[in-house]
Symmetry: C2
Subunit: 307 residues, 2 copies
């Protein structure tokens, strides 16, 4: 099952991190923007072109040291269908460079609607006699507020296509507790969601023992992270909140099991925008991103050994 | 504020319903598919073209009797960026025909990411010196599992652009209770979400007394619907689950206040696929949809009088 593929890549690179591709225009180096606007005008097409160039450069710079990439759909949808085309092309490009691709879409809908999302993002869509692939990521993020109806259709696709998902369990943002921390009997809402996720994934365990239904658990609540790691032994974790949001390498160590398996730590801004801290004009953005990714890998290595 | 616009349209047409545009290819009449495939081949472009033609026909047939349309993003994303282009064009077309447009996206993310979604779906995006509009719907649906951080950025856009949102509170699907019905102290999770929604919208009440933060409350749990209507007096309801999912006109009456205000009832398949029940070849799909929409309006009229 597909978390095997991710865990294998992590072990090969000794690097349990993923870099988030969430670019806003003001985070793209000026020379890339200028060139795109020169070709396409100051238009949505120009903006989309700049995004794609920036992404390709980052993927080139990181693909041999970082195992996975996580584009955040919002920053592509923001540019309308032109942005979505860039997202499709970014996923294809990253896969071509051997990276594991996690589409951060946080979709949550039911029945045939969930199936439609699953077709688009993981599976494929039947058109006449052929199956067409569209976004075709290796993995997506999901929101389970609507219950198992909103997760099962994706897991069907995962079983058929050897793919996987991460369901939001305990998120890293300040207001995550509004709902997730509510006490319900002897559990809290996020443990209910975590238990549901692990239960729905049952029977899909791969060679490392993880099901195809992973969980998003933020770095910013390390005691919750530690408790969830113990509770959900068969659940792979995607851990946001490292770096800019305040999570540290010491905090994220609790996401891993005793083999250093079962989790991947995300960083977006600290890698993507590293060039803004070098004092340069942005032409060095690839090297700056690479340096930041290596620094992150080394920080985590102080607390986590991937066997 | 923007629910005023919707309530005005509902009053003018004496019809508190919205039709969902959730088309799968097998629900599109054969003559439309054949023509699109003839022009574009059996490709994603062909499928997208068929979707757009079908949607335009339905909008033409319904725009003078149904006040609002709700395209479900999943069925467009399923076709990749070509589908998203159709979704943009469908929204533009429906607005051109005077319809209120609700993009059923159920997005839920935080901070700048929520802002990016909000820019794309409701506001606009700054490219160079200009603001570009992309999806530009009147209203979107949201998932608040991540808490107020995932709702507030949209409300900022609503205030600036006179738009509105519906937050998932109690959904119509069988497994909605997995999370939403958990008992937390003297409330259940869905009432916590409902209370949060109404509280975040405070200060945006329009002439009918509703804030710009509405709620999704399903028709399939009528006692919950009734209780939420009493609890959330300032909250406009979007009510799915009518028809195919089992909700009846008698059930949905509880969504309205004493003036027959404050709710809109969705039907998708029963209108969109009405042609499949006429025994015809689908060339009559417009008339079949119109007949179904009128029948629904009349059913609801037996229980609800819009003042």
């Amino acid at each position: 099952m597909s978390f095997d593929v991710l865990q294998d890549k992590i072990r090969a690179m000794k690097n349990p991190t993923v870099f988030g591709l969430d670019p806003r225009l003001e985070q793209i180096p000026p020379h890339i923007l200028a060139q795109a606007f020169e070709s396409h005008g100051e238009t949505l097409s120009g903006a989309a072109q700049a995004l794609l160039e920036f992404n390709k450069g980052l993927i080139d710079a990181l693909c041999d040291i970082v195992p996975a990439v996580k584009p955040q759909a919002a920053y592509y949808e923001r540019l309308g269908w032109r942005g979505m085309e860039v997202l499709e092309r970014t996923i294809t490009y990253a896969k071509g460079k051997g990276m594991f691709t996690i589409a951060d879409i946080k979709r949550g809908d039911i029945g045939t609607t969930a199936q439609a999302y699953s077709d688009g993002w993981l599976g494929g869509v039947q058109v006449g006699k052929q199956i067409c692939k569209t976004f075709d990521a290796d993995c997506v993020t999901l929101n389970g507020y609507m219950g198992s109806d909103s997760i099962n259709p994706f897991l069907d696709t995962c079983r058929a296509e050897d793919k996987c998902v991460f369901v939001l369990v305990k998120t890293s943002n300040p207001s995550s507790g509004d709902l997730q921390d509510l006490v319900a009997g002897d559990r809290v809402v996020y443990t209910v969601m975590g238990d549901l996720t692990q239960r729905l994934g049952k029977g899909t365990e791969g060679k490392y023992g993880f099901t195809c239904a992973g969980a998003v658990v933020g770095a910013t609540y390390p005691s919750d992270l530690r408790q969830l790691r113990r509770r959900l032994e068969q659940t792979f974790f995607l851990v946001p909140g490292y770096g800019a949001q305040g999570g540290t390498a010491e905090d994220v160590q609790y996401a891993f099991n005793k083999y250093g398996h079962g989790a991947i730590i995300n960083a977006s801004r600290s890698i993507m925008c590293a060039w803004q801290k070098t004092g340069g004009d942005g032409t060095d953005y690839r090297q700056a991103a690479r340096d930041a990714a290596i620094a992150m890998r080394e920080e985590i290595k102080q607390f986590v050994t991937v066997v």
